[in-house]
Subunit: 220 residues, 2 copies
Amino acid sequence: MPEFTPTERSRVRRRPQRAAYDEATVYKVLDAGILAHVGYVLDGQPFVTPTAYWRKGRRLYWHGAAASRMLRAVGEGQPVCLTVSFLDGFVLARSGFRHSLNYRSVLAFGRARLVEDLEAKRLAMDDFIERLYPGRTTSLRPATEAELKQIALAEMTIEEASAKQRAGGPIDYAPDEGWPAWWGEIPLDQRLGAPKPAGLAAGAAPRVALEAEAPCAFPF
Amino acid sequence: MPEFTPTERSRVRRRPQRAAYDEATVYKVLDAGILAHVGYVLDGQPFVTPTAYWRKGRRLYWHGAAASRMLRAVGEGQPVCLTVSFLDGFVLARSGFRHSLNYRSVLAFGRARLVEDLEAKRLAMDDFIERLYPGRTTSLRPATEAELKQIALAEMTIEEASAKQRAGGPIDYAPDEGWPAWWGEIPLDQRLGAPKPAGLAAGAAPRVALEAEAPCAFPF
């Protein structure tokens, strides 16, 4: 099973038993997410920008306006940490100290570049739409050259990545025994609401791939 | 209405019509969140760590193990960017270019310190439990001194913050007219699942305050 090789940068120190570095685990988390938090540094100041992203093989993509400060900064090849996380539930113990949260997260490290080629941009934006709404691109009005020029597209090859997760209920803890508090697990999930058509929308609302079932069709 | 004064660091450049700097808007987003993404810099490398947080007045708190690299780093007073974001829905247009997402987000900037006083730590951890499960602390086994010493608690006074949000459906766009694609909005929400008691849990599961109704009882 291919693995990312952790260095000091990506090795999980706290609770290493919850960590994984294999591509399958890392990609499973990355493919389930829609919003990432992109961390970058400008003049020593960290910035964390939430943004939609998608994966293709070992590469992560995100986009925005050509004038975006974040995209200009990461496009210069500065180091980036892109983090994806899910809060999966609440873990309640009989002492505050033993409460916890269930989660999945990935920290991906690399350097980004801006993709300038218009055809590559067009294909990448189609990948993004297909990631969210499988099969949708064929019914859409195609992007014009002027529109593609307004988009800045960042591409980051993952140099290192680590996954970390916790699942399950609270762990029995002797000092808490006998305390009359409820203990257990309360799951948390994301749910889609009823679609709200705009004007006279044609046909049924498309399916949103909240958790991408299959990785992009790209060798990795 | 009190406002954070934006500088170059926190002023929203892209789509400034979606931005706000008043405390009421910023705190409303911060008080609805449970996971933050804490950005910090170590030797020029950005790190973005997902972590639970809570707010009291103009201060943000998060905690972890005393040995945590993140907490040691931010405890040295380096600049921090703490970001909270929600994906509230999908906005589908009749061209890929005009698709969007509905979201709420806050970027909060400041420098953190580690709280060492054990009594202050105890009170802060109680605030955290009460934030998530109102009324729960009274039924829990109190923390011991040894447990409080194992916790590192970061406190950051917000120096600057900006909120940004988008809501509503797609905006009508002349070039898309007549394209036979569904367009509209598909909301996304977080829902709690059925509680899973551990062993013989006492009574009913506590209520989780998924979106905190009231700010902490602290003057701001």
